[in-house]
Point group: C2
Chain length 393, copies 2
Amino acid sequence: MISKKMQELVAGSSVIRAMFEEGKLMAKKYGAENVYDFSLGNPNTAPPSSLKQDIYNILENEEQIHGYMNNSGHEKTREVIASSLNKKYALNLNFSNVCMCVGAAGGLNIILKTILNPNDEVIVFAPFFGEYKHYTSNFNGNLVVIPPNPPSFLPDFSAFKNAITKNTKAVIINTPNNPTGIIYDDKTLTALTDILKEKQKELSTEIYLISDEPYREIVYDNINIPCILSFYNNSFIAYSYSKSLSLPGERIGYVITNPNIADLTDVLAGLNVANRVLGFVNAPSLFQKVIEKYVETPAEIDLYKNNRDILYNHLTSLGFSLNKPEGAFYLFPKSLIEDDVKFCNEAKKFNLLLVPGSAFGCKGYFRIAYCVGEDTVKNSLIAFTKLYNYFQK
Amino acid sequence: MISKKMQELVAGSSVIRAMFEEGKLMAKKYGAENVYDFSLGNPNTAPPSSLKQDIYNILENEEQIHGYMNNSGHEKTREVIASSLNKKYALNLNFSNVCMCVGAAGGLNIILKTILNPNDEVIVFAPFFGEYKHYTSNFNGNLVVIPPNPPSFLPDFSAFKNAITKNTKAVIINTPNNPTGIIYDDKTLTALTDILKEKQKELSTEIYLISDEPYREIVYDNINIPCILSFYNNSFIAYSYSKSLSLPGERIGYVITNPNIADLTDVLAGLNVANRVLGFVNAPSLFQKVIEKYVETPAEIDLYKNNRDILYNHLTSLGFSLNKPEGAFYLFPKSLIEDDVKFCNEAKKFNLLLVPGSAFGCKGYFRIAYCVGEDTVKNSLIAFTKLYNYFQK
């Protein structure tokens, strides 16, 4: 009796849920320290050590901490975020361009609720975060997937150009990328937005570019992340503190609307209303105040960088084919057999929990989420060696 | 360029937003203490004084406070809630029947996402919380409104019976009620669920009864609130701590699924998936742990009861026609002129901010939200007197 859409969703989700449950069972059977769970893209690392004291200070010194506010969030929090981004990227934002939201997942949903008419098309580049399909479907939009472009996994611009139609309402990019770890540099963003500008003119439409950036602070080797707002007027950023502050359970993030977007007033009012009618109402109040203290704090990425280097060096030395990620906390190697689902199932024999590339629209690859403790990474190396050798027979 | 649906929503919301902004302007002009803002259904009273210490204790003593968990919430929190409800209402719930959610607004959205196919009908009784219309529309359902039944505002059972069709998928009730303050007693719930049982049989369908209960703890004069789960198998409860603990900004609540509901496993999986794909992901983590301490704590209703009594006595003595509310924190008097929107506009001349009954599908009435400080209530009495006299000319 549940809805048809939900029946399909439940059936589709059971694979990931089954893996989650299997991981828990394996941990019970073999001991948690002997199971190498690289399946979850949520940090199990600790938040900043100063967090507790910051919460104490807020509870001691501030008023109206848990109360009602504008659906777009506390004006002060929004102002602090706008100022910080202005300084970092030479922008011209004010508080009204910032809408606090329930994580980037909430942010993407309020953006799509605001802009999508039924059957509007949303373009993504494979491999992509599988939830984009569901978020688009929530508002009766259609996801259009540009096939993967290995080995660089940068956008296939020719395929992109051909995919844009009168019905294209939005393009979602995700940089640094889940699952590849690649970053779109100035050149890539220029090429991508040049196509969008040309197509907007040609088709007389507005096409929104949505940059999903939960990994913006998780960047290695001093690589610079350009800001999409400087490249293209019809743009949004969805940001989350889940990854940068290791707060995935607290559901705190924001949406930035480009001040030069078409119909700015309507869009801002739409995000505000979407927050309310979708049932978010507002981003959690206390944590809005908490993150005010962290807008200038760089994420602690030493652990991730170390994990990346250990795993990347070991896997390449074994003979796996993979890129060295520039950001996020994922490796995306080529599977040792064509069937990535079968490959990940076989990996369980060595207590390795990996996610098939198919889950990201990219068969023949697999994802390693290395946002885990260093011990898990070090102890897993021999398991990866066994897995590699197993497939050489 | 925002979606058609959103254009309508933004246009419709501008009235309430305009009132909110006008209230702020009035407060600036006349001084906050001289403006009687009864427009907001969110408590501006303080949360329990023990809350701060509870948060300290959790931060000092618990682990994995801000981390990832099952989309339905922490198992321990869910277990604590199930046990408490079992004790209070002699039920047989376990943790799996409890899904933590982002307030009751989030809860209603995950329920409707789980059950509604496009064009399914959702029945509500006017006057009703206006957001139900938007929540239903989020999933392409159609709201069917049973006309108001004054002066009792109890359901019109004959109209209800006639409104149920093959397409009826759900009925939302809200007891204690916003905006009338009435409570559905045993007799009312028996009559209502008898009709549903009969219609399910007659039409060979499943019809879900959703009880929206953010005011369940806000009850006066020792009136007993019956539990819907004991009356009808296909039932859900959506609960929020926004009102009972004065935490509207923190977005914490839960959905209870009746253990005897049809297709229980699918429904529970659906709620879990809906929490994820709608972008909530999970209820805020820290506050899940906080409310564990409050499942047995009665809400502090003395202030509300006092406000209710002062206002009710004053308004009836003036000649207003209204019921004495049994719960929630609203009065719903008859407007002194037929046009309730005009009436509320005129009330602004006396610095009174009231909401027209039309916003709840019930013309000719107006709502007073008395979840405000006692001073506001006391100082407002002379303004109500002036308002009454103004319309006697």
